[in-house]
């Protein structure tokens, strides 16, 4: 295999890795968007919070695996409290105020990260078991990158099974489809909102945890990722898991390949792709509305 083909193949794999991260964040966002009807501007901040909690937990316990499991749980708890006691009272005020509130939360979390962990970035090592690389024949590839791909795929698959095969998943999908009808059937729609918000936020945190050893930690990592999450939702379609995966992978691979050949243009290309999709399919790739 010649040099160029190897480079393209590696970049393609990198694109799949980052694409799965985008998909994780995007699915969390689309869940919140579908249920609560708000674009969660704090989503990126919760992703960053997940990564920084991992850093702290690894520092305290020394175990990456423990940190990986506990950080999303902490973010889940924080978000559930946030939704129950801060966002829920705002529903009667209208979505503009909820949106503004998530914007304020995003600014507050970002500033708190800078205050607690400093403005300089950190790097974090993958766990010992995932260090080194795997020989894939024509080229070798970092083991941790492959782990991220498989782990996020497994989580998304689990979520998809939960949504499609369980009773609670069905209620959740119904909540995205028609809130009035769901609450008319005697289901506590507000509890559904709380769980949905917590679940979506913990997916963002998990994405932050997984990406931390690859990209490192920066206080502004949340803000940097947020537009991609929004693009994933806009391209993939509302409340659509398959659409989010497809959009995440398309964006990840596009970004990765253009980074190789035209580094300055990689971000711009993504928005170009988004513009083309919106022009040809305004409802998103898999969206019905």
């Amino acid at each position: 295999m010649d040099n160029l083909a190897t480079t393209v193949a590696i970049q393609f794999f990198n694109g799949l890795v980052i694409g799965m991260i985008y998909a994780l964040i995007g699915i969390g966002l689309t869940l919140i968007l579908g249920l609560l009807d708000i674009p969660n501007f704090a989503h990126g901040a919760l992703y960053a919070l997940g990564a920084y909690l991992l850093l702290q937990l690894v520092g305290v316990t020394g175990s990456f695996w423990l940190g990986m499991l506990v950080a999303p749980v902490i973010v889940f708890t924080v978000s559930v409290i946030l939704e129950r006691f801060m966002i829920r009272p705002l529903y009667p005020a209208g979505s503009n105020y909820v949106l503004l509130f998530t914007f304020a939360v995003s600014v507050i979390v970002q500033e708190l990260i800078i205050i607690l962990w400093g403005p300089v970035g950190f790097s974090i090592l993958p766990p010992q078991a995932l260090a080194g690389s795997v020989d894939l024949g024509p080229f070798s590839y970092p083991r941790y990158h492959l782990f991220v791909m498989i782990a996020s795929l497994a989580v998304i698959l689990g979520l998809w099974l939960m949504l499609e095969r369980t009773r609670y998943g069905a209620i959740m999908r119904a909540g995205i489809e028609n809130k009035t009808m769901v609450s008319a059937l005697g289901i506590d729609i507000y509890r559904l909102f709380t769980v949905g918000f917590g679940l979506g936020a913990s997916l963002a945190a998990l994405a932050g945890v997984l990406i931390a050893p690859i990209r490192g930690l920066m206080p502004y990592m949340g803000v940097d990722i947020l537009p991609f999450a929004f693009v994933v939702v806009a391209v993939g379609g509302l409340g659509n898991v398959i659409g989010a995966i497809a959009a995440g992978l398309i964006i990840g691979v596009t970004q990765s390949l253009t980074t190789q050949f035209w580094p300055q243009g990689s971000t711009i290309t993504i928005f170009g792709v988004m513009a083309i999709i919106l022009l040809t399919r305004p409802q998103g790739l898999f969206g019905a509305r």
């Binding site: 509130f101 304020a104 970002q110 800078i114 947020l226 929004f230 806009a234 300055q264 711009i268 919106l278």
Partner: protein, 331 residues
């Protein structure tokens, strides 16, 4: 008589504005006072979308920044007339808004918000990457403030207070122009779209086209505000095109009140006052601003407009005590 009172009543806010313009430099530094009117232009332009058309654009910094960089580059490299720089900034803001609006207005509601935001970040990344032209993250320094040459007279706007008057004048002209827009038949259609887009469409209006034009007008005025901002500080910081600026505009407009034409101006005054007060005390001042946002959202939701209405209502009740206006009063 009622008509006369209505006409006089319509002038009161303008009179208050002129008084405020005249007293503000005595209350604070000229730079801060100037910033107030720059952001007032931006907030008014934004409210054309949020308050009058019902469109929440979360990317107003795109046009603000576009205008700031356009004017900055023209002033630095071409030494153009300040008014030409303002016109170019408005044109550039309007053009960018035309493109982004064309794409974003295809999607409604939440998608519209997210897309305007995503395009805002794209614009930011472009400016960030093109650092050889824009100065990247350090901003574009050395924006001059050449004299305003009007054939018969030349207005030197280099001093802080002269520039303050220049910006105040531009602000008043923009406010009058935007008031004309919202009171025009075009503005009424926008309000009809806000109230019920399906019904407006059923009446035969091409609502998407109206929204696009509103977006372009808003973008043009935002670009103009951006140019004023760059000339104020002699530098175009990259913050002008950053998403937090977009969020701040949403905040100042909501806190001022979207239901009144003048509400966003009050919001701009409050926001600049807040930012100036806390930013000199602590480097991490956005944290304080964020906490104030939360406080306002929970306890001060209706904005200053509501406070005004309540105070006005209280005043009216006090002055009319003992002579109930309506027959069904219980006491």
């Amino acid at each position: 008589m009622a008509k006369l009172r209505q006409r006089v009543g319509g002038f009161i806010p303008w009179a208050v504005l002129v008084i405020l313009i005249l007293v503000l430099p005595d209350l604070t530094r000229p730079t801060v006072a100037t910033e107030v009117w720059v952001f007032a232009v931006l907030a008014l332009a934004f409210n054309l979308l949020l308050g009058y058309t019902g469109l929440l654009s979360f990317g107003q910094a795109t046009f603000f920044g576009t205008g700031a960089y356009t004017a900055g580059l023209l002033l630095i490299h071409q030494r153009v007339h300040p008014l030409a720089a303002l016109a170019a900034a408005a044109l550039a803001g309007g053009l960018v808004a035309a493109v982004i609006g064309y794409l974003c207005i295809r999607r409604i509601g939440l998608y519209f918000i997210m897309l305007t935001f995503a395009f805002n970040l794209m614009a930011y990344f472009i400016v960030y990457q093109a650092s050889s032209i824009t100065g990247g993250v350090d901003g574009l320094p050395g924006v001059p403030r050449p004299p305003v040459n009007l054939y018969v007279l030349t207005w030197d706007i280099r001093s802080g207070i002269a520039y303050y008057l220049f910006v105040s004048l531009i602000f008043l002209l923009c406010a009058i122009a935007l008031k004309k827009v919202v009171d025009s038949p075009f503005g009424l259609v926008l309000q009809a779209i806000r109230e019920n887009e399906a019904r407006a469409a059923a009446l035969g209006y091409n609502t998407a086209a109206f929204k696009r034009v509103a977006f372009i007008i808003s973008g043009a005025f935002s670009g103009l505000a951006g140019a004023l901002y760059g000339m104020l500080f002699g530098i175009v910081p990259i913050d002008t095109i950053y998403w937090v600026t977009s969020g701040n505009v949403v905040f100042m407009t909501l806190i001022g009140g979207t239901t009144s034409f003048f509400g966003p101006i009050v919001g701009a005054v409050f926001f600049i006052w807040l930012a100036e007060t806390v930013s000199v005390r602590w480097e991490r001042w956005p944290l304080i601003v964020g906490l104030v946002f939360v406080f306002v959202i929970f306890f001060f939701r209706g904005g200053f407009v509501e406070v005004w209405h309540r105070a006005y209502g209280l005043l009216a009740r006090l002055t009319q005590r003992g002579q109930p206006k309506y027959g069904h009063s219980k006491d």
